[in-house]
């Protein structure tokens, strides 16, 4: 009984869709644009999150210890920093030998540096402590504490690689873009709602004779309304599919630019959104369906006299 009724409702909804095909195409197009702009907003969000987290990973304090210190002393200083300085998340030790290897590798192409190193009989570099703070705000405090404490005599130099300005500018730019994106999406959504409302209104007008006969022969009110709701859900489903069909090729097209932006870090957009497609597009479908069903309900309340 339920399946039979559902099948009949679906048939009527399909007939409504096909008999006003150009109206349906216009509705689906506008809804697709809305969902596509929301998808772009999602892409922008994920990119900014990724960029920020990558930058945050790069923030650290490099403490270059004097080369005269022995390994045991360096180990003791490392433990001391980790336990006594407030706000320290982790301390990584780069020994003098490791520092030299890295230095050589970095300046491999520079013959003068390589020759100078050969002339030196012993390692001129000291060990380095790489300190990560618990919070982004903690780096300045840690640096100040290191520079004005018992550690001062043993530190050759402490450098804070500050990406704060870059992070702030990215945060500011993305929040502006998000606001713009939200406004565009909201505008498209409002237009979509109006278009769906109008489409259902025209469909009710087109089918007024059929609706009159349905009432006459004893159709229940929900049976008369259900095809219009199903039609609204159909618009949402088609729009979601079309938005996804345009969105994924776009991701593929922008991937090279993303790769160059992240400079060696791999952030695969297609993979990222494929893994989240169920929630990302499922959520869009659900939202679009609920809003268009709401628009059609208002249209029915206003124009469908049953």
């Amino acid at each position: 009984m339920f399946l039979t009724t559902a099948q009949r409702v679906a048939t009527l909804a399909g007939q409504n869709f096909w008999r006003n095909i150009w109206l349906s195409v216009a509705t689906v197009t506008i809804m697709t644009l809305s969902l596509f702009s929301i998808s772009l907003l999602g892409m922008l969000n994920s990119l900014s999150q990724e960029a920020l987290s990558r930058l945050e990973e790069k923030i650290d304090i490099s403490v270059y210890l004097k080369p005269t210190l022995k390994d045991t002393e360096v180990q003791a200083i490392k433990s001391d920093v980790a336990s006594s300085v407030a706000g320290v998340k982790s301390v990584t030790l780069v020994t003098a030998a490791e520092a030299l290897v890295r230095f050589k590798a970095k300046h491999e192409a520079n013959a003068t540096i390589s020759e100078s190193l050969l002339e030196l009989e012993k390692n001129p570099l000291g060990a380095t402590l790489v300190i990560k703070a618990v919070s982004e705000e903690g780096y300045r405090t840690i640096l100040e504490e290191l520079e004005s404490s018992k550690f001062t005599p043993i530190i050759q130099e402490a450098r804070f690689e500050d990406y704060r300005l870059i992070i702030d500018s990215i945060t500011s730019l993305t929040s502006k873009l998000k606001r713009l994106g939200l406004m565009v999406s909201a505008l498209f959504l409002i237009i979509s709602l109006l278009v769906v409302f109008n489409t259902i209104r025209i469909n009710i007008y087109t089918h007024r004779e059929e609706i009159g006969i349905m009432r006459l022969v004893g159709a229940r009110a929900w049976f008369i309304r259900a095809p219009f709701w199903a039609e609204s859900a159909l618009y949402a489903a088609l729009s979601t599919l079309l938005a996804a069909a345009v969105f994924f090729p776009l991701l593929g097209a922008v991937q090279p630019y993303i790769d160059s932006f992240f400079n060696g870090w791999r952030f695969d957009l297609v993979e990222y959104f494929t893994a989240r497609s169920f929630w990302f597009f499922g959520g869009q479908f659900l939202g679009a369906a609920l809003l268009s069903i709401l628009a059609s309900t208002i249209a029915m309340r206003k124009y469908l006299r049953i």
């Binding site: 349905m214 022969v217 159709a219």
Partner: protein
């Protein structure tokens, strides 16, 4: 017990228009009643009240023991399954075949497909159109289209068949055919309410005639004639 009972029914419209005033009418099961009167005498209002398209302003309406005076919108479909309705302008769906038009009445009320497949040919046979099941309404004459409407009205096996000016758009030959069909349906036990201003039809029928004039019943004869 009466099948249809109107008790002191009044219907007023905005602007002080009185469509029906103190109508008292009882119709027994199996009767063939003609409701006659000139245009604007309240015949169509009576039909609208009976199928609960509009509520009465005063009085009480009972159909098959069911007081429909204050019927809720949810209950209206149930009432309309008990009253088959035939209109002058046919109200057929032009893009559906006549079999589909008849089936439509069953489909919208959730009848199973198997039942529809059995019932529709039977109904078309009753109205003599079983051989034209796949034709579209535009391919049929006015009389044939009205027969399709009667078949559709019978789809729910209603207790009452309400025909509002069913011959208004038909020539005399088709009129005779439709009236003959209504008489045949009445013989099977269905109560017929024929709303008409066709004098010849009423006089030929020689059945009960209720005459309305300015919203009131002015005569009610068991084997009446259309006299004015």
């Amino acid at each position: 017990m009466s099948l249809i009972d109107f008790r002191n029914v009044c219907k007023y419209y905005d602007g002080g228009v009185t469509a029906l005033k103190d109508v008292n009418l009882s119709i027994e099961p199996g009767e063939f009643v003609s409701i006659v009167g000139q245009s604007g005498t309240g015949k169509t209002t009576l039909v609208k009240l009976l199928i609960a398209e509009e509520p009465p302003s005063a009085g009480r309406i009972v159909v098959a023991g069911w007081d429909i005076t204050g019927i809720s919108p949810r209950e209206v479909p149930l009432l309309r399954k008990q009253i088959g309705v035939v209109f002058q302008d046919f109200k057929l769906l032009p893009r559906k075949t006549i079999a589909e038009n008849v089936a439509f009445a069953l489909e919208v009320s959730g009848a199973p497909g198997a039942q529809i497949k059995t019932v529709v040919p039977q109904l078309l046979k009753i109205v003599g159109l079983d051989h034209k099941a796949d034709r579209f309404p535009r391919e049929l004459s006015g009389g044939e289209q009205q027969r399709v409407v009667i078949a559709r009205a019978l789809a729910h096996r209603p207790k009452i068949l309400l025909a509002d000016e069913p011959t208004g758009n038909l020539d005399s030959f088709n009129t005779v055919e439709i009236i003959a069909l209504l008489k045949k349906i009445n013989e099977f036990g269905t109560t017929i309410l024929l709303v008409t201003h066709n004098r010849d039809v009423v006089n030929e029928l020689k059945r009960r005639v209720v005459m309305l004039d300015r919203g009131q019943i002015v005569s009610d004869q068991k084997r009446g004639r259309y006299v004015l």
